[in-house]
């Protein structure tokens, strides 16, 4: 119910602000919503998001880099590319993005770089507010929960 409410609000508010990033962000979020259920739709949103990002004047922000990292990392709307994802995540982290630490740790696990994975995981866990991002990751054996090795 809450989720529906949120979706409604988000949908409405998607049209309230005319900022490119916001539009990109909203598309990205919609994409993540439909990622599990309707991959095709989700891809459409991701592609739109990607397209909007390219139109942004200041692309090199922590949030944009994070978004790009996620998209490359998961192959959302674009071809999966771990190197690019790594690049973007690192960029985001440089710019102060904290969420990106978890994402990067996840990536490194998937890339098999467990040491780096641990480093960034520890870093991320120093921020309690971010912890839930890393909930996918099992800390002991550095695997992503729900994902078979």
């Amino acid at each position: 119910m809450k989720k529906l409410f949120l979706v409604l609000i988000l949908t409405i508010s998607a049209f309230a602000l005319d900022l490119t990033f916001t539009k990109a962000f909203n598309n990205f979020n919609k994409g993540t919503r439909f990622e599990q259920t309707d991959k095709q739709k989700a891809n459409q949103y991701f592609q739109k998001a990607f397209f909007l990002i390219q139109q942004m004047q200041h692309k090199d922000t922590s949030q944009v880099n994070y978004m790009l990292g996620e998209m490359y990392s998961n192959g959302w709307g674009i071809e999966q590319n771990y190197q690019k994802a790594e690049k973007y995540f690192l960029k985001a982290i440089n710019l102060g993005n904290v969420r990106a630490n978890c994402s990067l740790a996840k990536l490194y696990i998937q890339m098999g770089k467990s040491n780096l994975a641990r480093k960034y995981l520890n870093y991320a866990l120093s921020y309690p507010s971010v912890a839930h991002y890393c909930k996918d990751i099992s800390q002991n054996n550095l695997t992503i929960k729900g994902e078979t090795k």
């Binding site: 602000l17 922590s62 507010s129």
Partner: protein, 1030 residues
């Protein structure tokens, strides 16, 4: 309260001045303080501005430092931006520090702030390390603290402002707070957006919710009508606000999601965009504060201008009050001095009243009262004194008048009998004694007359007459009086008179003559032998029908010193005491002259130098009655005179030439008799002019010996009469040469020429004896010569009395008396009356008296004829007139009361008169009209009304005498003539002379009358006479 005047004036002046001074000083000081206050306020505004600048820079530095810090400097451009913002902040802080340095007294207010800003470099360094300090430590622990401190201080400063501005000033605070809060949110949240982290719940409540407010809560309504209000209500701002609302909503949502679900999915706002939008918001708030600042400034400006204005006004007032105070002091002093002077003055009058000097102080009330008393008493006493002196003067004058009269009567007796004595046969010695006695008596008479005149003047019994008089003629007459005496004394006597003086002027001619006589007399007295006296009378022009005539008497006499000049007009003063002894006189003459002239609105002046001479002169303004010039200029412009060369210069010569010029007479000079002979042949010479005293005597003789047939005019002083007579020139002009003499001489040239050229011409000869009474020797000569030329034997008398005496001695001797009207001693009219009286008393036949007069004005005719004169001729003597008169005399036409009326004086009439005798001669018998009446009324009436000449018979004897057989007699017989029966009378007349025509004046019918005149209508009478004479 008894205040002295001085004290009162002091108070009246100083109290208001002091009040004004006090008020103006007070306001001056107050305004000065105000002025200073404004200066201070302006300083505070500057200080506030400096603080506000720091605020702005601070917000920006803090905000940009957030992104810088979270991204460890890696956020795009963040490093540059932060550096820039830090530079701005430092600049603002330095500006403040500079201000405090220049105005150290504000250090207290900014002490805290300054010490905080001193920490800034350290903080910046820590931020730059990204690790030595926590975010919130510097964000809230430093920047926000400083921010609060500044806002607080700004608020504190508002109290320093004038009340009027405080409200305005404080209106800024909400906006400044809004700016600060928005700044906080901007900075703080952008950190978390960049970090992509949710806020902690504490921070969410303690910062986000605390510091984010809707602009609705701001007091924008008070700015209604201003641009600020319009800005906040603009579409742009409303869009901005709705955007920010959306942004804040998103941020809140993102955080709420995390708090509720434990899930945070990032902020849908780019940090940059977020920062940007918040900055925009702040801009609006800044606009408001700027607007308010501008408002405050303009208010301050207005106040300042007003204050400056007031300051100037009060400064001026202040100085005015000082000036007034000074004036007051000065006026007070002045008044005091005047009051003191007045007191002194009145104190000095007190001796008049009390005999001793008492001090009076006008300032005090009693003093004033006393002063008034003193002055009125003094006036009373003075008035008394004046009255007494007036009375005494009056008494003195009366006494003088009476005494003069008493003295004059016997004096006149003495003079009268002296005259008679002179006429008796006395030997030479006796005649000499008589002359001496006469002279003394005359002098005494003059003295007495003068005294009388002076006393008359003093008692103001003299008035100025307004008589019409023939100006030039009268002046010349007066001047002529002294011709003989000056010649006797060998004094050159000249008269320079403007010939163009208007013919008739109006004024008191008798007094003018007296003045001239007096002055010339004086000159004569004080001028020695070989000196000269010049009388100048100039026409200075006519303006508004008033002629300005300048009179001057100049002599080369003994003169006067400055001292003598100053006193010369004072009564009884002569130049010095010896004058009376040596020269005689009373010392009253000039006083009288001065008084007369002043009464005629003139002023007499004297110039004199000892032993050089004296000049008296004055100007009179006389109304013009006949403005034609007495003599026309260039009257003789066709005439030329030949003048014998002169060897010396003289007044006489120069003045004569002046007159010649005026008359337009050309002059040719010749050297000797031969020259003039040839000159006569080439030029038309009217006359030869010889100046006896100035030319060579031999030549003069030569010229006169030659038979040149041109009249010679000899000009010289009377002193040379004897010598000149021997030479017998045709015409003589004796000093003084006057315009009239020049005119007469030139006129008579025609006659003399006739005399020379046609000596064969028959001139009527009248074998009659005439007595000529004339005081002027020239006129005398003229008449006697003319009469002599007509064969008339003449005897002369120099005045009326002499004439009377000569007449009364041999009443039958003279056929006619020519009586000059204006003569001294006894004038013509008096003499005539005396003669007629004498004739009546002695029952003598009447000797005709002909008036010879220069005056022929209105009323003169009647006056002469009315006084008993039979006829008159005017001066200058016209030959034709003389003929007429002599003829009448020859024909015994004059009897006692016959007045021949001359209606006109012009030649036409005379020509007629000349002609009628000729006509009458042609007819066999002359017509003669005789009026027989006893009534003088009828006689006078007919005299006036009838055109014809007639004679009057008042009794039968006269009637028979008149009605001679050799005339055709027309007798106008009046009814009551001799009481006789008219018819009988007429028949007896007609028996004697059958030709006689008798016209009866009666209402009855008279059978033997040739005509009857019933009413005295002049036309009727004329008609009747005409009818019967045919």
């Amino acid at each position: 309260m008894k205040l002295s005047l001085n004290k009162f004036i002091e108070l009246a002046i100083f109290i208001p001045a002091l009040i004004l001074f006090g008020f103006s000083s007070f306001f001056f000081y107050q305004n000065f303080q105000n002025y200073q206050k404004i200066q201070k306020t302006q300083k505070y505004i500057t200080l506030t501005k400096k603080l506000e600048n720091i605020l702005v820079a601070l917000g920006q530095e803090r905000g940009t430092s957030s992104i810088y810090f979270v991204s460890k400097g890696k956020y795009p451009h963040s490093r540059e931006v932060v550096t820039k913002k830090r530079a701005n902040m430092s600049k603002a802080i330095n500006a403040l520090k500079q201000f405090i340095n220049q105005n150290p007294k504000y250090y207290n207010e900014t002490e805290n702030i300054i010490s905080l800003t001193n920490q800034l470099p350290g903080i910046r360094k820590k931020i730059d390390s990204f690790s030595n300090i926590k975010y919130k430590e510097w964000f809230f622990g430093y920047y926000t603290v400083l921010e609060n401190e500044i806002i607080n201080q700004i608020y504190q400063l508002s109290k320093k402002f004038p009340l009027k501005l405080q409200a305005l000033y404080r209106a800024k605070i909400p906006f400044e707070k809004a700016t600060a809060y928005t700044g906080i949110i901007r900075g703080f949240v952008s950190y978390y957006i960049t970090a992509d982290l949710p806020l902690s719940q504490d921070d969410y409540k303690g910062v986000l919710l605390k510091y984010y407010h809707d602009t609705n809560i701001l007091p924008i309504a008070q700015f209604k009508g201003t641009p600020v209000y319009n800005e906040f209500n603009s579409k742009k701002f409303k869009n901005l606000e709705s955007n920010i609302k959306s942004i804040m909503f998103y941020i809140e949502q993102a955080n709420m999601e995390y708090y509720n679900n434990g899930e945070f999915n990032g902020y849908p706002i780019d940090a940059f965009d977020y920062f940007h939008e918040m900055t925009k918001r702040i801009t609006y708030f800044k606009k408001t504060t700027d607007y308010i600042n501008t408002d405050i400034n303009s208010n301050i400006d207005i106040i300042k201008t007003n204050a400056t204005k007031n300051f100037i006004i009060y400064t001026i007032l202040f100085f005015i009050s000082i000036i007034l105070l000074l004036i007051g002091i000065y006026v007070n002093k002045l008044l005091k001095t005047h009051i003191n002077e007045l007191s002194t003055l009145i104190s000095s009058i007190t001796p008049i009243i009390t005999g001793k000097k008492t001090k009076i102080d006008v300032a005090s009330p009693e003093g004033m009262h006393k002063a008034i008393q003193t002055v009125s008493e003094a006036i009373e006493i003075t008035q008394e004194a004046i009255k007494k002196s007036e009375e005494s003067t009056k008494a003195k004058s009366l006494f003088l008048a009476n005494m003069s009269h008493e003295i004059r009567t016997p004096l006149n007796g003495i003079l009268g009998f002296l005259e008679l004595l002179k006429a008796t046969e006395a030997n030479e010695e006796q005649q000499d004694y008589i002359s001496t006695i006469e002279l003394s008596a005359k002098n005494l008479l003059q003295i007495v007359n003068n005294i009388l005149d002076v006393s008359k003047i003093e008692s103001q019994k003299i008035s100025i007459e307004e008589i019409d008089f023939r100006a030039l003629d009268e002046f010349e007459n007066t001047i002529e009086i002294f011709a003989a005496p000056t010649a006797q004394k060998n004094i050159e006597y000249a008269a320079d008179i403007s010939p163009d003086i208007p013919t008739v002027l109006k004024g008191d001619i008798l007094k003018i003559k007296e003045i001239l006589t007096n002055l010339i007399n004086n000159s004569m007295k004080f001028t020695q032998k070989n000196g000269s006296i010049t009388v100048r009378i100039k026409n200075n022009g006519i303006k508004d029908n008033i002629a300005e005539i300048y009179f001057e008497v100049e002599d080369t006499g003994i003169g006067m010193s400055e001292e003598q000049k100053a006193k010369v007009f004072e009564a009884f003063t002569q130049a010095d005491e010896s004058v009376t002894r040596r020269y005689g006189g009373t010392g009253l003459g000039l006083t009288i002259v001065k008084n007369y002239i002043e009464m005629m609105n003139g002023q007499i002046k004297v110039e004199s130098e000892l032993n050089k001479g004296t000049k008296f002169f004055f100007t009179l303004k006389l109304p013009v009655i006949d403005k034609t010039p007495r003599y026309q200029a260039s009257l003789y412009k066709d005439k030329t005179f030949a003048i014998l060369k002169t060897q010396t210069d003289s007044l006489r010569k120069n003045i004569t030439f002046k007159y010649f010029s005026y008359f337009g007479i050309d002059k040719i000079t010749f050297n000797n008799a031969n020259e003039i002979e040839s000159l006569i042949n080439t030029e038309k010479i009217e006359s030869i002019i010889l100046f006896y005293q100035e030319s060579d005597k031999k030549e003069i003789e030569n010229i006169l010996n030659k038979e040149l047939n041109i009249p010679v005019i000899m000009i010289a002083s009377y002193a040379f009469k004897e010598a000149i007579d021997k030479l017998s020139p045709e015409i003589n002009i004796y000093d003084p040469v006057t315009p009239t003499k020049t005119f007469n001489s030139t006129e008579s040239l025609k006659e003399t020429k006739q005399l020379i050229q046609s000596s064969k011409e028959e001139t009527p000869i009248y074998k009659i004896k005439a007595l000529v009474a004339e005081d002027n020797p020239i006129n005398m000569k003229l008449i006697t010569t003319t009469l002599k030329n007509l064969g008339v034997e003449t005897d002369t008398a120099n005045n009326g009395l002499e004439a009377f005496n000569k007449y009364s001695m041999y009443p039958d001797k003279y056929d006619v008396i020519f009586m000059d009207v204006q003569m001294p001693i006894m004038d013509g009219i008096e003499t005539t009356q005396e003669i007629i009286e004498y004739e009546e008393e002695e029952e003598l036949p009447h000797t005709p008296i002909i008036a010879v007069t220069a005056n022929v004005l209105k009323g003169d005719k009647e006056r002469f004829l009315g006084s008993g004169m039979d006829d008159y001729i005017s001066k200058p003597i016209n030959k034709n007139e003389l003929h007429r008169v002599l003829e009448q005399i020859a024909k015994h036409r004059y009897s006692k009361t016959v007045h021949i009326i001359q209606k006109e004086e012009n030649n036409n009439e005379l020509k007629e008169a000349q002609e009628t005798p000729r006509n009458e001669e042609k007819s066999i018998k002359e017509k003669k009209i005789i009026l027989a009446t006893e009534s003088s009324f009828l006689a006078n009436y007919l005299k006036i009304t009838l055109k014809e000449n007639f004679e009057i018979a008042t009794n039968l004897k006269e009637l028979s005498k008149l009605a001679t057989k050799d005339n055709l007699n027309i007798i106008l017989l009046e009814e009551d003539f001799t009481g006789a029966n008219l018819e009988q009378l007429i028949s007896s007349i007609k028996k004697e002379n059958p030709d006689t025509i008798v016209i009866a004046i009666t209402e009855k019918t008279i059978k033997n009358a040739d005509a009857i005149i019933e009413d005295l209508n002049p036309e009727e009478i004329e008609k009747t006479i005409q009818k019967v004479s045919k």
